[in-house]
Amino acid sequence: MTDSTASAAATQKLRFYQKGTFTVGNRLAPDAERSVQASIDRSNALTCGHRACQGCGEALGARYAMDVAMRATGGNLIAVNATGCLEVFTTPYPETSWQMPWLHSLFGNAAAVATGVAAAMRVKGRPEVRAIAQGGDGGTTDIGFGCLSGMFERNDDVLYICYDNEGYMNTGVQRSSATPPTARTATTPAMGPEPGNVFGTGKNLPRIAVAHGIPYVATATVADLHDLERKVMKAMGIHGARYIHIHVPCPLGWGSASHDTIRLARLAVECGLFPVFEAEHGAVTNSRKIRRPVPVDEYLKPQRRFAHLFKDAAGAQRVAHLQAIADHNILEYKLLGQEEDA
């Protein structure tokens, strides 16, 4: 048996769950497969002491993503941050949690600022220094969309990471174009004939990114941090415009328990509402298969933003509508079946 087959066999093992949990232990993996976060050499680019809420999915996602990007570039990384939770909770002046060069300019321009950083590095003869832009869903799908689309279209050498918590959480939980139908926010209250956010609205940014034909697009979730790490690593190995959309539960905005963040992120995938997939140059190349399919109720019930769905028959109809959306995703992204070996 050669080394490469040994490694393939080990990769195979990673799909097994440890008894009683859904996590895959680093202990079972060969060194090369172990997570960056498990390494003593991780950069702690986003280090402790920040002011994120307990159970913040965004803090978790950003920490993993940045440490991988730091490893991928040997620390030659500059991050640009859109205004939002991540920006505010990491830099209560004069303290900063960023152990890497970090710039915050405005809410809607992170992608363009990162384009400028990348251009500066090229012209300064330091192409090894790479640029990442990051923001929440508001800074990405709404106010930052113009600059993001421009960066995609020019195929600038920037990885943009969107931490999607499905609303404007920093300003007090208002609706964004990433807020799902029926979700209660401060601007889509659970009142009237169609409580919460209405059906038939919203923006599927990962698909819009794919439509730009850029080299790499992926969705990821804080429930599968191995997968998240692998995708960031892959993205950093590619030049040109890249986009990773990470689903990050927000206990404050979703009305969920802090200890349920990872569970909810997993349920969002398993019910089919958040498809995890990769795309290259305009085409979807693969998706993460659902290991344990669940009805959408399981995902919705632990969140107070959906509480109104479980009060009457009209609510049940809306749950059925959400289930139909999830079922459609399952078909469209081929979320059931065997994981194909890469």
Binding site: G75, P92, P94, W102, S105, T115, A120, S149
Partner: protein
């Protein structure tokens, strides 16, 4: 080297001499030829070591410049009018972050009604954003001020806007003396940032600042502008020594020494004013001119020294604050606050949306300032007839219609009835 060349292209050549490293461009009339010129120089390789980025909006243009500047590159962009408004948030941000970006503003009116011609409404809309604002009188001035702008921006680590009148300068073919690269290199050293994003020395820029330090951060921004009051004349003097041309520093004067009346103005209109002054001097009037080169920082002290003791000051400007009056006149008033023997200040708003400012009109308004002074702003060559008719119409009819279109129709009717006579 002497050249006969369009203003936009001479400005583009001057920018290229400054060795910009990142240029971001989004087209807007009348700035387009400047970035077209630079784009061509980058594409042909004439301008080396420079990234030219075609962005999707002015907001992105300045945002790319912000990223490039923060990462240590010499960054440049150009815009006008609506474009400046569209990037307004980034205009304040660049200044607040203290990034030495240079931007050309091809001055143009702001709509509605949409209008592509020259006035200073765009520059005035950003006068409090924290940028230095220099106004060019000629295309030679535009060349010379841009070279100084990079030096100032980088010395102070703050952004500089060079205001060049749209069409009147940008599209005018004039003779200019283009500096030599070696001289520009000697005058403008490579950019050494005071703050830079560098993995070797990671820092955070753009952190949240609360009430505990915000005032102090703002004060230091203001303090830098007061330093600029000293640096602008200093760098202008150094420029004169090397290039042989006097850009005036903060301001320039013309036949001002003994003048009882001083005109104050900015930009290309100064040429017409000088001609008018020559004619009036020949008629025995005691009149001179102060040309403001630096509107931000505003040369309050220098202006006070010049204006105190005169009889009349006439401020001519191509912009006004609706409901308040001319911004330049307000600033001149402020410069004269608590000054003994302050002159009478007469405010004239002229040349809005590209209306020609003629010598005949200037003659009239200068003479009127001496004989019949007025309060508030005087609108030069205002068509009072169509305004009277429109006001009458608005009083009579509730659904009176859109103002701009009504006025255009009245003008057309007036023209037809004149033709019929």
């Amino acid at each position: 080297m002497l050249k006969q060349i369009e203003g936009s292209f001479s400005t583009a050549e001057a920018i290229a001499l400054c060795r910009p490293e990142v240029i971001c461009a989004y087209p807007i009339t009348p700035q387009t030829h400047i970035v077209e010129g630079l784009g061509e120089m980058v594409k042909t390789g004439e301008l080396k070591n420079c990234e030219f980025i075609n962005v999707e909006s002015e907001f992105a243009a300045l945002s790319v410049a912000i990223g490039a500047s923060a990462a240590g590159a010499r960054a440049y962009t150009a815009t006008a009018s609506q474009g400046l408004l569209f990037m307004a948030e980034a205009v304040y941000n660049a200044a607040g972050l203290g990034l030495p970006i240079v931007m050309t503003l091809g001055n143009r009116a702001i709509g509605a009604p949409i209008n592509i011609w020259n006035d200073h409404s765009d520059a005035m809309s950003m006068r409090d954003a924290g940028w230095l604002q220099l106004f060019a009188e000629s295309n030679q001035d535009s060349i010379d001020l841009h070279i100084q702008a990079f030096r100032l921006a980088e010395e102070l680590s703050m952004p500089v806007m060079v205001c060049v009148d749209g069409f009147i300068l940008t599209h005018a073919v004039e003779r200019v003396d283009m500096p030599a690269q070696a001289d520009v290199d000697a005058y403008l050293p490579p950019y050494e940032p005071v703050q830079v994003l560098d993995p070797k020395d990671p820092i955070s820029i753009g952190a949240m600042v609360g009430p505990d330090a915000f005032t102090e951060v703002r004060f230091l921004q203001h303090y830098k502008q007061t330093l600029a009051l000293r640096l602008i004349p200093e760098f202008a003097a150094e420029f004169q020594t090397r290039f042989g041309r006097d850009t005036g520093g903060l301001l320039r004067t013309y036949r001002a020494d003994d003048a009882e009346m001083l005109v104050v103005a900015m930009g290309s209109i100064n040429g017409t004013i000088k001609d008018t002054i020559d004619e009036m001097r020949a008629d025995g009037f005691s009149i001179g001119l102060v040309t403001i080169v630096s509107f931000r920082p505003f040369p309050t002290e220098a202006l006070r020294r010049l204006l105190a003791g005169r009889k009349h000051v006439v401020v001519i400007e191509k912009s006004f604050a609706v409901g308040m009056g001319g911004q330049l006149a307000n600033n001149v008033d402020l410069a004269l606050r608590n000054t003994p023997a302050a002159p009478q200040v007469h405010s004239v708003v002229a040349g809005l949306g590209g209306r020609a400012i003629t010598r005949a009109s200037l003659h009239r308004v200068f003479r009127r300032a001496m004989a019949q002074p007025w309060e508030g702003a005087h609108f030069l060559d205002l068509n009072e007839e169509i305004i009277g008719k429109e006001l009458h119409h608005v009083r009579k009819v509730r659904r009176s219609g859109p103002t701009a279109e009504n006025l255009l129709r009245r003008l057309d009717q007036a023209a037809q009835s004149t033709a019929a006579e």
